[in-house]
Symmetry: C2
Subunit: 306 residues, 2 copies
């Protein structure tokens, strides 16, 4: 199981990206938020779906990563998203991440063309890996068919692991399909493949089945409790902890998730700029926001220390 | 109906993109192919879906466009694709196109996030238009829900036309849903909105319903005949011409379309480099290729003058 030693923690957040008054990624706010997440033992899966990363240009993503590194954030706690539709973009992003010392990359399949073949997807990842050609590159496959509409078959994962055993080291599975998650772990746990659930809803089940942890949107707003369960999952109160996590998640999940998390961070930090999202996303309406806040108050939830 | 004077012809090809032995877009081959298309009165919708444009980086697309301009290809016959997931990329691409003098842009909705709101899509296009802020910008909305999984509601089109009457001038509709195409024409023909069918299968119907023409994959391989129908659609043999077009299209459509067109261009030009596609697409297998060529031979089809 230790084929792929990693400095990454059990829980990472796809860190939400703050935009300044001009709509530009705000690296100062992001660095502050990242430090706060790390203080809760949550790692930095910057440039994920919940980071609106695919709404940012390649240059914006690389400049933002460099700004975090320059601000002293630890690359060994980072798994930046490097997904793109163009393999040339994915190469550029992946190279930047590994050269910055990031512990891993979280890489989407190319998601413009649909119903592509496993041969084509294999060629895409092979091209990235052979072009970047860095011995420390560790790629996590990012499976999120509800959004990307392109996924990873078991046969494709097997082929990638066999061809690149030191590089294709794990997966974030946001399929929401536990049967799939479980089948991937059953097939590949023995090779040291590292499975992160795509949401803390599956955290306890994933850990019990030999997975590593989770990379979850809600880790942006509930980091301490999620990292707490990952640390204490063998304790007798683990199921209770899981229920507590689920209750918080459900309040966010009932609204557009990214806008809801940003609204909550804006509320608890007192910094309204946090509520801004990039098109095509929109902020919560006043009614949606009031409903979210009421739900959070009713379960006694708040975000301390923001 | 003449609200939006345009230099663009009735038929455009989403020009297939040749890649050289290193996998780089080959601007010389592309310029030659583009000239051949123009000689058949087919315009240049470079960087469409069939151009594998979303498999190219922003820099590759801009450099390729500039190379075509430098090679003397006429910008007034060009409608480059400027779609992206990131509004910042769409702004960069759109600005480059309008500054190069292109007669229009073909712009996808942002296609990473699914089930986004009309408000968010409106904000995305408004941001592009107001950032580029060029009086000559003419945007064609690119509706292709089978691939992008994000489309344009009638209400969204109406809102865009009302807000930007000089800029949002038309659509390429690749929905394959004639009821939708017809409903858009019924709603907006009166404003001068220019409808291009997404395939020549709908060419005659589109012209008869007040549309402008088509932007079709198959125009890469059958340009003369498609442009011929667009020029002669009021003639008594128009329905026969439409049937002839359909027969050719069907031979290509039975295989992965982009690889099939490239295989055909490679065959008839004798230039095998044309067969190369970028991941995640793959070339036709030998069997698929033989089947395509046999089908084309059986209907007496070839591409002269390539």
């Amino acid at each position: 199981m230790a084929h792929h030693p990693s400095t990454l923690p059990a829980v990472l957040a796809p860190v939400i990206t703050p935009f300044d008054a001009k709509g530009v990624p705000d690296t100062q706010r992001l660095a502050r938020q990242s430090r706060w997440l790390l203080s809760h033992k949550v790692g930095l899966a910057v440039f994920g779906t919940n980071s609106e990363a695919n709404s940012m240009s390649v240059a914006e993503r690389i400049q933002t990563l460099q700004a975090l590194i320059d601000a002293g954030l630890p690359a060994e706690q980072m798994m930046p998203g490097t997904g793109a539709c163009a393999v040339t973009d994915a190469i550029t992003l992946t190279r930047a991440a590994v050269q910055a010392g990031c512990a891993g990359t979280l890489t989407l399949p190319p998601f413009y063309y649909k119903e592509v073949s496993d041969d084509g997807l294999f060629a895409y990842f092979a091209t990235i890996i052979e072009s970047v050609a860095h011995p420390k590159l560790q790629i996590y496959l990012y499976n999120i068919p509800p959004v990307a509409k392109v996924g990873f078959s078991i046969a494709l994962i097997e082929r990638l692991i066999k061809a690149y055993p030191q590089t294709v080291v794990g997966m974030k599975d946001s399929s929401g399909d536990w049967a799939y998650t479980e089948s991937v772990m059953k097939a590949f746990n023995g090779t040291g493949f590292r499975m992160y659930a795509g949401s803390e809803s599956f955290l306890l089940r994933t850990l019990r089945a030999g997975g590593v942890g989770c990379i979850s949107a809600t880790a942006n707003v509930n980091p301490g409790a999620i990292a707490g369960l990952a640390a204490n999952w063998k304790q007798p109160d683990a199921d209770q902890q899981q229920s507590d996590l689920d209750r918080v998640r459900s309040a966010f999940q009932r609204r557009p998730m990214i806008a809801a998390m940003k609204a909550a961070v804006a509320r608890y930090s007192g910094d309204t700029q946090w509520a801004v999202v990039r098109p095509p996303l929109v902020e919560l309406s006043p009614d949606e926001r009031d409903g979210l806040f009421a739900d959070l108050d009713s379960i006694g939830f708040s975000i301390p220390g923001l």
